[in-house]
Symmetry: C2
Amino acid sequence: MRIEIITTGDEVMQGVIVDSNTAWIADRCAQFGHQVIRHESVGDDLSAIGDVLRNAAKRADAVMVTGGLGPTADDLTVEAASKAFQVKLIKDEDVLQGISHFFQSVGHSTSSSNEKQALIPEGSEILKNKVGTAPGIKVKLNGCWFFFMPGVPKELYQIFDDSVMPWLSDKSDQVARERVLRCFGEAEASIDEKLQGLDLGDTRLSFRVMFPEILLKLVARSKSSADADRALEIAVERVREKLGETVYGEGYASLSEITGRLLRDNNATLAVAESCTGGLIASMITDIPGASEYFLCGCVTYSNKSKMELLGVGEETLKVYGAVSAETAMAMAKGVRVSNGASMGVSVTGIAGPGGGTAEKPVGTVYMALSTPDGISSYKYSFNRDRVWFKQFAAAKVVDLVRRSLLGLLPEGGGRDEN
Amino acid sequence: MRIEIITTGDEVMQGVIVDSNTAWIADRCAQFGHQVIRHESVGDDLSAIGDVLRNAAKRADAVMVTGGLGPTADDLTVEAASKAFQVKLIKDEDVLQGISHFFQSVGHSTSSSNEKQALIPEGSEILKNKVGTAPGIKVKLNGCWFFFMPGVPKELYQIFDDSVMPWLSDKSDQVARERVLRCFGEAEASIDEKLQGLDLGDTRLSFRVMFPEILLKLVARSKSSADADRALEIAVERVREKLGETVYGEGYASLSEITGRLLRDNNATLAVAESCTGGLIASMITDIPGASEYFLCGCVTYSNKSKMELLGVGEETLKVYGAVSAETAMAMAKGVRVSNGASMGVSVTGIAGPGGGTAEKPVGTVYMALSTPDGISSYKYSFNRDRVWFKQFAAAKVVDLVRRSLLGLLPEGGGRDEN
């Protein structure tokens, strides 16, 4: 099917908000092998909306329209459709009742402007809105299927997933299968380069950067689900072979979530000592519900005094090797583990910049260490980017160190000491 | 002027990437009082691109086009324009030389496909690209001004700011003045409601949510800069009057940055003890370059053991009042301040959820405390949302507590104790 996507609203038109709904819809249409041929946005202008609706109907088999279904005077989509295609509007009693129920449930009464939302083009099917007042509308106009949906993302997502996805699937002679590979440790450009020229058949590969993680989504389509599964399997294997350990997992669990599960499954407990990451490691770990089962304590020791007093780093160590050194990192990791009675201690110390670098230890220099009852290992890296990038990447690298340690996959090049 | 914005590219069309360039361009056009009337996106399809270019020229005075200027076979914008408007393409020697200089500077040689980027519609003006190979192109076709620019954001931004902004200003008979008000502590909907019906004249107000902060941008336009300044001043005063202390600052410095400056200006030092925010307060504070001048240490004490050992919270306090209590918060704030020799100690303890709530202390309950040599105060709030929202809002609330304390603006309702 040929599909167009139309967004209405002055806020989108004037750049007050970025329209992310369109990409969201386009991605779902493409998953079923439908061809998205055009996106258009217009402001809250009756004749402009009518114009884009009419023109889209000439080119497309189906048109997804968002926005302009609210109760206010600048919500014009339904009226524009009625004028553009000369179709009557009818008050839908079910919709009206739904709206007043919705308002009762949140302790308000329906205003007369909400009644406008119950005016529906003749011949429409109502697409139930479970999270707001504006119903979705499905209607065939001039031989083209129109889906009118609210612009509020959570309302759009619910209506689309409940009512439009099954229809898109129905209109497709293809079955879609998808898998998401989660990557960490390499830049998007480097991953892209490694995958250049890789034969993935008809399987569609897309990137989504959730820095510092990169998600690769693979979608295979075929007439039979067995063929789609097989094509997807082959494509995933090829990508995994090219990327090796950069792929750390599959699906929608983040690095912190996967690491948290491993800690729980191993009955391990964790304490963290951080300097240059400034609390971000602890924050990433405690983003996960239930983190208190395995996370005991984090120490954000910016001053030397706190490194000595909280973590027991020796004054000699700081004097001889400096606060940014393998020796200090190891003392921090061991100190935080032992004082908290944790089974694992990790640490990081480095120079986030923009100030503080020296010729010997330039901005971006970072040491990490991992302490367990079996020993301590330390790792040195250089991540020379801006401060916030540095903090995020270094923090994720420490979380990844915990993950790897629990899997027996410690990175190469670590200096190792007895504990 | 009436302006349209066109984006080309299969990745945008299929929803692989969200098109944020369009909103960026629209916002800039609107700043000068130009009317953005339509956005359109099409895939890498010669005839579809030609079609949208031709139609846009019929409606608009100027069209901003992004994408499709690269060296590969699916970069079709210039060819589409040439066909749509029957204009000759000419090899521009300056552009060709610029491209080979660019490649030399990054250690590559020019490939034949790059030569394609030197083919320019006859009569064009070149808009210099300082950060990539594809030049911007300005050309009048069928009476309409076209600006062709790369889709890579950093290239687009540079070309647009250097070459298109002065032109937009020139074509406007208006002067624009803008100010940004920074808000914290209220939801967008609540701010929106307070500002409903407020007479701001022709001054344009837009929201940008950088959760948990909300930025209000006010843009006033007038024929004279004195009038624009005056209109802006009046609008800002009216908004400030409605929002009171919710507006904590102006411009582009974040809550952490403003708080950091105040700490530095007061020769104050800070230590932080956090439980439910899991390190996020320390991380927010250390996002700011130079934070080591005033930030000494953060303790992320999830376990009771760490609350007792690192912060000196009494076992009795934890037993009698619980870990989530005003008494524990106050002991944490004082403990972290004294043990680090800081002039200010702040703390937070609460229930981030989804688990851990009780009838007496439901999920979302949170206690904060501030300790200085003059005394301790504590505050109780309830922020019942999802875990990540809770962490971000509560962390920012603690940073705001530090800011208010330094300004003598402590929030009302705090319990107060001698230190």
